[in-house]
Symmetry: C2
Subunit: 189 residues, 2 copies
DNA sequence: GGCGATGTGGAACAGATGTTATACAACCTC
DNA sequence: GAGGTTGTATAACATCTGTTCCACATCGCC
């Protein structure tokens, strides 16, 4: 049934399938056949949308990033609440955010020795830092270069909690993560 | 030339070789043949010391952990300096620590969907937390449960800086990492 | 209504990789 | 000094995986 399929949507279906498999059993389990099957297709279709497995992985990472970015736009909130919400978004407190973290970890592991993937990861981080710095400026907590440094510190705190929560989920239910984040943030401002 | 080789030492040579390859080009590049070759041997020897590739990876991770742990024992220092040194040890400020981080990232990626590996990673984290909490108690910064919570916050801060430094090394020379760590720590106490 | 383009399925291919088996060499012990 | 043990190299094996290829179905368009 060609021409009826929305190409972009199908690509997202496939990257979502890849993300699910990666989060469930790691990149090693995300073989081309399995990703296609998870999306209800076969490798013939998969290769129709992604030239490489490498391209599939890159797109999966960026789709996961886009998914998180789309959650940012909580309009109507003051800068302070947006900042807090953005940092909370970096914690693996639900399935979607945990899945994003897993994809990120797998991607980082694969980016070792692959300059293009490493660049993608680095750029994503810088973009996030820019966004946080922007919010920091709007809160008035810090300005200019100070905002970037403050953003780096905020992100460090959020990521640090996230890492611990990721690999010891039993000890880190969502509430505990949020409490740790808040404690750390209040100590910084 | 059997019987002349120290089994433990040879195992370390092999896990070191694996760690180098993993840090250089990722786990995918650390094939059995390449690991053996990096150590100046062949797969025949490698399988003589490690039953599986999985066992090799697990031992590589734990050897890397042991290497870092051995750097802790800086006797003669007061608790405060030891604490600071321990946290600084979590930053990828030199090749050895960066290599350990790379091994850890690869290991975490592989631990997804492998309960035994995940347990090893979690236990390592808890052990580290216990060590930091012990130092926190000795500094008098906090006591009992408070020490553990404080340790978690210190580790979060150090890991957060480490993560940013790992994947954007150009922006994060050693001095900048140390400055960020010190800034964050002074804000917490 | 035929034709080309687009999606899809399925099979086949080639390469790599973990693993196993075998043969040989060096050492210790008796 | 013979025998057994340990370490090492080499080769072979089986499997898996990314990739390519081809046939077929479905649609828009002239």
């Amino acid at each position: 049934m060609p021409r009826f399929v929305d190409v972009d949507e199908r690509r997202i279906e496939l990257t979502d399938a890849a993300a699910r498999l990666i989060a469930r059993a790691g990149l090693g389990a995300a073989t081309m056949r399995d990703v296609a099957a998870e999306a209800g297709l076969t490798t013939g279709s998969l290769t129709h949308y992604f030239a490489d497995k490498r391209e599939l992985l890159l797109c999966t990472f960026q789709a996961s990033l886009a998914g998180r970015r789309s959650q940012r736009s909580a309009r109507g909130l003051d800068a302070h609440s947006q900042l807090r919400a953005t940092l909370e978004g970096a914690l693996p407190v639900d399935d979607e955010r945990r899945r994003h973290w897993m994809v990120t970890v797998a991607f980082c592991a694969q980016a070792t020795g692959d300059a293009e993937l490493a660049d993608a990861q680095r750029d994503a981080y810088r973009e996030f830092r820019g966004h946080v710095a922007n919010l920091v400026e709007r809160t008035g907590i810090a300005q200019r270069d100070g905002a970037i440094q403050m953003a780096e510190r905020f992100i460090a705190v959020a990521d640090g909690v996230a890492i611990q929560a990721l690999f010891d989920p039993e000890s880190w239910p969502a509430e505990r993560q949020l409490r740790a984040l808040d404690d750390l943030l209040s100590a910084l401002v």
